[in-house]
Amino acid sequence: MLDYILRRLALMVLTLFGASVAIFLLLRIVPGNIADILFDSAGMIDPAEKQQIIKDLGLDLPLVEQYARWIGGLAHGDLGYSYVSEKPVLDEILPRIPITARLAGLALLFAVCTGVPFGVISAVRQNSWLDYILRVFSLLFLSMPSFWLGLLVLMAFVNWFGILPIYDKAPPTWGAFALMLGVPAATVGLRSSALIMRLTRSSMLEVLRQDYVRTARSKGLSEGAVTFVHALRNAVLPVITTIGIETAFLFGGLIVTETVFNIPGVARFLVEAIRWRDYPMVQNLVMFIAVIVVMVNLIVDIAYMFVDPRIRLRA
């Protein structure tokens, strides 16, 4: 077990190294750099001024040297300075991370708290009209573009309740605060909720047919105990898998939701940073996301092994 984890950690480092090179190169393939953008916004082209900016930011150095500078700084905890705001990258990223983390966390919480129970109900009442309705709705939620949903939700709130649950630095009431957090989280989480519901349902169904459940039933345990104790424990597996897969996809939903609900989080910030070709910002942010995704994958795999002894044996 331990050397499996160590092996994975070593591979993780390899992946992260590859990711760093990938994002570094990708950014430089994209045409235009900060100097172009700055000048575009000012409409003025004194080539000498532009060259000076490029020199000041070290953009005329050979690529390998630029990469070495970045990684070297990273090793010392120095993430560099934003090209746009000229402030340290860490100062820009740190306050924004908790905002996005809160949104993502609440979204996942919402997804699990709605997806699992509905999945169980749907599996237990298989092929009933309730099952069909739940299945249709979950597919529907998986099919909607998240920003469209977000806009409609905003519109609904404004039209029906006269409230606009967009981000507010100082919400006037507890109710407003709850809405400000809850509505975007539910919008982002709806997709994951539908996925979790479906996966819970299908693995519950599979598990409900398994031998050991039949054995438990024949031992005389009540229907309720059988369902919730044995089956559910094994149905937790897909939830764990989903969290792993969804972490990567969640980000897209976060970008869009943060834009619609005007939340000053890290996702929206990343998109802007790309538009500005703010290399230090984009590189470090993407690395941060990569670390999270890879770690989550590792944790999910380990959790999997704990929950399902068969996998542990194979590893």
């Binding site: 591979l11 390899l14 992946t15 992260l16 590859g18 990711a19 990938a22 994002i23 990708l26 950014l27 393939i29 994209v30 045409p31 298989q126 092929n127 069909y132 299945r135 249709v136 597919l139 529907l140 998986l142 099919s143 909607m144 573009p145 998240s146 920003f147 469209w148 806009l151 409609l152 519109m155 299908s202 169904l205 599979e206 990567a248 996809f249 980000f251 897209g252 970008i255 869009v256 834009t259 990343l270 998109v271 790309i274 993407v286 996301i289 990569a290 995704v293 890879v294 994958n297």
Partner: protein
């Protein structure tokens, strides 16, 4: 034929999905015939016209008929969905097949590359790719296809790993059949089922990704009427005064993706009977 009726009765939702998809594909193919107006002609006087006898679902800011734009938009969405799914799933399947079957260094490297690709957020990758290549239909398809590759490769690889140990594959190897032939003739056909299921699942998500890209200002450029772009910024501003600009493209996207998901679900139930019923 009786087989088809059998399946149709057992999987009504799947049939519903199939019908939606067929309508979608037909609309896309027959766009020029079905659309009442030219989707590209601007008409100042009809700007933001509400739904009426002439403009069944209204007109947009430039006076272009929304219905015609939606119909032609089906073409774009179909092209993006098919193109990205085929390229993404195709390349992913090939990689997964090779990686799973050959194993060793090749497998390790491909695995790492796939993991790297997966750790970079999909939308960010697509953003970067479209920004580098410039906005166009082809580049959008590429941008959406590329993040699909590692996902498909991983699933196919897992499948292949389990298939490799099967008896008849062992037997084929013992008899001396070449690796490539074994891969193609014995292993690959058995990965087809999960591949088809995966591909149909991706069909819906590619359309959604295109919508998100357009929302961010990338994706398919003017003047092609893509559903995603019809939903983007300039339409969303009018959400209160001209809601038809926003509601219908969103409905269309949701409906087609819904149909694809229904169909894919039913297909998975049929091909992979361990799940579902």
């Amino acid at each position: 034929m009786s087989d088809a009726w059998y399946y149709a009765r057992r999987y009504p939702l799947g049939v519903a999905g199939a019908i939606i998809l067929i309508v979608f594909v037909l609309t896309a193919l027959l766009a020029n015939v079905v659309a009442p107006f030219d989707p590209l002609t601007t008409n100042a006087r009809a700007s933001l016209a509400p739904p009426s006898g002439t403009y069944w679902i209204g007109a947009d800011m430039m006076g272009r008929d929304m219905l015609s734009r939606m119909i032609h938009g089906a073409r774009i969405s179909l092209a993006v969905a098919l193109g990205a799914t085929c390229i993404g799933s195709g390349l992913g399947a090939m990689l997964g097949l090779a990686s799973g079957y050959l194993g060793g260094w090749f497998d390790l490297i491909v695995q790492r590359i796939a993991e790297i690709m997966q750790s970079l957020p999909l939308l960010v990758m697509a953003l970067v790719i479209t920004a580098s290549l410039g906005p166009s239909l082809t580049n959008t398809i590429i941008a959406i296809a590329i993040p699909l590759i590692p996902n498909v490769a991983r699933v196919i690889r897992a499948n292949v790993l389990s298939l490799r140990e099967l008896n008849y594959v062992e037997a084929a190897r013992a008899v001396g059949m070449g690796q490539a032939r074994i891969a193609l003739r014995h292993v690959f056909p058995n990965t087809l089922a999960p591949l088809i299921v995966l591909a149909t699942a991706q069909l819906g998500s590619t359309i959604l990704t295109e919508a998100s890209l357009s929302f961010l200002g990338l994706g398919v450029p003017e003047p092609y009427p893509s559903w995603g772009r019809m939903l983007s910024e300039s339409a969303a501003e009018y959400i209160r005064s001209a809601p038809w600009l926003v509601i219908f493209p969103g409905l269309a996207i949701s409906l087609v993706v819904f149909g694809a998901n229904l169909f894919g679900d039913a297909l998975r139930d049929i091909l992979d009977p361990r799940q579902g019923d």
